[in-house]
Amino acid sequence: MNGAHDLGGKHSLGQIEPEAETEEPIFHAEWERRVFALTLATGMLGRWNIDESRFAREQQHPVDYLNNSYYENWLAGLQRLVQEKRLLDDSTIDPSRIPDAATARKLLASGGPTELPEEAPAKFSAGDQVRVRKIQHRGHTRAPAYVQGARGVIVDHYGAHVFADDNAKGNRHGEHLYSVAFSGADLFGADAEAKEVRVDLWEPYLEHLAP
């Protein structure tokens, strides 16, 4: 879906106004700490994955998404997931598997790699000319609107990684992932300021372009 989260190239959003690096706190209020920690802790229960979390935030009304601060969007996403997954009524979670401090630290330090064994040969290789398909489904996708329909060149093949669009529906499987180079001018016109924009795109997003 091309909701308000799909921001690449959008105009009229103003200046960036960064806080000075040496002065910016990690969190700006106690409630932000709570939202952050609860989001990670509930994620450790395994009832949803990271793409479902992202999709939960993206499904807000665009006006809300843009008006909210970052952690307000996280809170909205968390509330949606808790409700949709009926987490508070879930009696199937084994109490001995609820992370304590040591387990939480261990999970953070180990992370969750997304590379999977390759089940089919890669369709593309470095140097191939490709076009990004128009992705019009209303689910989660990681093909930004600003590259859909654009032509690019395969630069790297990263192996097979969990495919975000399907993972957001609870279907975890791998698709080949590529680093694709786009000319800034192709994406944003002759006055584009980037010589090149590199985007990570999964194989189902791409089609061969005749040389």
Binding site: E24, L75, G111, T114, V199
Partner: protein, 203 residues
């Protein structure tokens, strides 16, 4: 944002408190786990990790080679592993090309080496403009690039995480890795600034 202690709690505070109370009462979340998560990202994992990686790359050519070839492995060898750093790639600035990292769709960021992202990185204007007008974005950070230097922007749309290897500042030849770390700002490793010059850091 400081609030007077007599001010009633905000709606947000109440909403998250209610949810936390329910989750803890149902036994789905342990308060000690919440504390551990907050402590990890407030006090342990941060841009000092990335500064270590960069300073080592500046002083150790073998490490730099390994870092460019397999950043995940090279960074893990220094002890930095975990969430939002499972798949890392380091991109090197040169005299001809300047790299800049963004996540236009959300806030993907290499936590293991930089910690949690700053507010501006997650903001709509940065996410919108980094891909289309990176030179103007850099200028807002006080970074004015020679027009002949090309900009390559990396949009973090998968679980691959990107770290910029800034150019080593002039006049720091012979500095120790320890000394060099102080020159490596977080912003330089995102690509919105250059590494600090020797006269910017206290002697």
């Amino acid at each position: 944002m400081s609030h007077d202690h007599t001010e009633p709690p905000s709606d947000l505070t109440l909403r998250i408190k209610a949810l936390e109370t329910l989750l803890v009462e149902k036994g789905l979340v342990k308060p000690e786990a919440l504390d551990a998560i907050i402590e990890t990202y407030e006090h342990k994992v941060g841009p000092q990790n990335g500064a270590h990686v960069v300073a080592k790359a500046w002083t150790d050519p073998e490490f730099k080679k390994a870092l460019i070839n397999d950043a995940t492995g090279a960074v893990a060898a220094l002890g930095y592993t975990g969430r939002q750093g499972e798949h890392l790639r380091v991109v090197e600035n040169t005299a001809d090309t300047h790299n800049l990292v963004v996540c236009t769709l959300c806030s993907c960021y290499p936590w293991t080496v930089l910690g949690l992202p700053p507010v501006w990185y997650k903001s709509a204007p940065y996410r919108a403009r980094a891909v289309s007008e990176p030179r103007s974005v850099l200028a807002e950070f006080g970074t004015v690039l020679n027009p002949e230097v090309d900009i390559r922007v990396w949009d973090s749309t998968s679980e691959m995480r990107y770290l910029v290897l800034p150019m080593q500042p002039e006049g720091t030849e012979g500095w120790s890795e320890e000394q060099l770390r102080s020159l490596v700002s977080r912003n330089a490793m995102i690509g919105v600034e250059r590494a600090r010059s020797p006269d910017e850091v206290a002697p």
